[in-house]
Point group: C2
Chain length 363, copies 2
């Protein structure tokens, strides 16, 4: 005989847990529904002794407000939407994802995912997410010039924040971004302080806003230091191509240090160095960008985007917009300064700490 002590096959084990409601808490505390609600939502309205009695009942019963009911009345879901892209090119996305989930959670919001093949599809998805799910707001990534998504959302008064500047345009919505130029500038200063005078740059093909920004930080810092600005190498995020570009760069002049626009480019350069018998950190210094897991396992010095800070700011700006604050002024824009994480690839000839690690925010 199998172990089933069961007669009715279907749902016997169902414990039929009665979830506590406002009413059950109210009854136990000897007050009314609304008073319990006030204890939770408008504590100033409730006399402290009744509040204590209610709180006791709440914890005794293990009451938790049911959000669907709340949402039905208030039209607020406490859910924020975030798109996951198909291409996993963005090595840093999962770090951002974790950070934004945590930051939202700290204010009792949750992240809901959706997919879309392009911006048009994403806009179509908004209708669905707003109409059926009552999403409170959106976190946009990978913004670009002429982005239709933000204008669509502002037209409907839907709160949103973007990770990424609206390059070249002014924005009616809040955004958070990382000052890539400041990152490469810090790396350049760090290397100059370490005694390097010939510092190369391996970047992406010109034309990408992010790439040009990172390039400019390097160039301007060299100029400011009175050093020559050599011709940068150019490559897409392909290891083989990056390695070839690094080879060209090493042939043209023999830099003692190399700053790269991404960790992938840096890894490509490392491959070429290895083939030439040059030891990173000893014979040549190499700096990447993103501080990805790749940099960590390679011992590559890299510029960290401080995604936890980005996520936390995104959550703050967006939630402040969602919640009926006193009165929001102009949309806030936050530009964060990245942080150089030194590892073995910039060697043991580390200088005295001339460059202050960027601690304070600038907004």
């Amino acid at each position: 005989m199998p172990d089933s002590t069961v007669a009715s096959a279907v749902d016997v084990a169902r414990p039929a847990i009665v979830r506590p409601t406002l009413d059950s808490v109210a009854e136990r505390a000897g007050v009314s529904r609304q008073t319990v609600s006030n204890v939770l939502n408008s504590p100033h309205m409730v006399r402290s002794d009744t509040a204590d009695r209610v709180k006791l009942a709440i914890s005794e019963l293990g009451y938790r407000p049911h959000l669907a009911a709340k949402q039905l009345r208030t039209r607020r879901s406490r859910v924020l939407g975030l798109r996951v892209a198909k291409v996993g090119t963005d090595a840093v996305f999962d770090r951002f994802l974790h950070a934004i989930t945590e930051a939202a959670s700290a204010r009792d919001y949750r992240i809901m995912l959706y997919t879309a093949v392009d911006d048009d599809a994403e806009i179509a998805a908004y209708d669905e997410l707003l109409g059926r799910w009552d999403i409170d707001g959106f976190i946009l990534t990978a913004t670009h010039p002429g982005d239709l998504r933000t204008s669509y959302l502002s037209d409907r008064n839907v709160p949103c924040v973007s990770f990424g500047r609206p390059w070249g345009e002014s924005a009616a919505h809040p955004w958070v971004d990382v000052d890539g130029g400041a990152g490469t500038a810090a790396a350049t200063e760090y290397l100059i302080a370490a005694g390097h005078t010939d510092i190369g740059f391996l970047g992406w093909p010109t034309g990408s806003a992010v790439g040009d920004d990172r390039h400019s930080g390097w160039a301007r810092t060299l100029r400011a230091a009175g050093l020559k600005v050599p011709e940068p190498g150019r490559s897409t995020n392909d290891l083989t191509e990056a390695r070839a570009a690094a080879a060209v760069l090493l042939d043209q002049h023999a830099p003692s240090a190399l700053i790269c626009a991404s960790d992938v480019l840096a890894i490509g350069a490392l491959a070429e160095l290895a083939a030439r018998g040059l030891r990173p950190g000893h014979d040549i210094a190499v700096v990447g960008f993103d501080n990805s897991e790749l940099a960590n396992v390679t011992g590559l010095t890299s510029v960290d985007q401080r995604l936890e800070a980005v996520a936390s700011e995104c959550a703050r700006l967006l939630i402040d917009l969602v919640e009926p604050g006193p009165d929001a002024g102009a949309p806030e824009h936050v530009l964060l300064t990245p942080e150089l994480v030194a590892r073995s690839s910039t060697g043991h000839f580390r200088p005295s700490p001339v460059i202050p690690h960027p601690q304070g925010e600038n907004q």
Copy 2:
């Protein structure tokens, strides 16, 4: 309709969109609320001509059922929970994330994220997610022997599915996993068919279930082919360490091909090969595991876990469990066979196509 256009300074642009409801659709179609609901939920109950009339009204008004209201009544949220871990070691997580979001979406479910520092914290999070958000079910990843999460969930009759076998234990819940041994076996067969007789293996330290599984596929295939099984190299997912391990392996015997337990290990090996002037795909064949973005940009042949298939199966099993099916039998277990994706690192001396190529190259 010029309904008293208020000149209040605050919310002027507010279009005050009246969202269509069941009632408004019913009124327009000249039927009752319940009939409209039946058209959507129990179409067989409605005569076809009335159904047509209702459908017309629905599309004219652009009606979408409001899920919070539905959830309040049915206790189903159409939301599935997925934990995002802090450590971004898992190079494949974002691919899985995209795939599971899409698979769930196809059946009108959404993915909600949460974080937890460890399993205990995750269990604590369940209470919150179940009690307040009414999450319908959970997708668990990174299961391990003695996992308390699954037993906790089954105790409360909460549907869940895990990506990952419950190693060594039998499971009362459905799971989906990838047969890593079959993957390395396929890679080994592929190389044997290409004429290789000395095929090395670079794996993780023994003791990890996943790692041992991948190792075994290689070893058993060599034995089955009557080839010698050399001592494998061992390294964690650290590029420097992997390179060193590859060096030892190359010194011990000179394999013509090398299979690695992960793409990171393979990249480490590639670095050592480059330093020795050995060209992958010409002088030695190299195979990785995961088919990560890393493999793509490196031209590394790699074993693909078919995460889209994993995600789609996870979604299917979980949603079938959530929805009141006719009668589910024993929990279903799915073991998927991974797929070898050949790139330049296994060279141009490709044999007759014994191994089927995957569909399209992933861009």
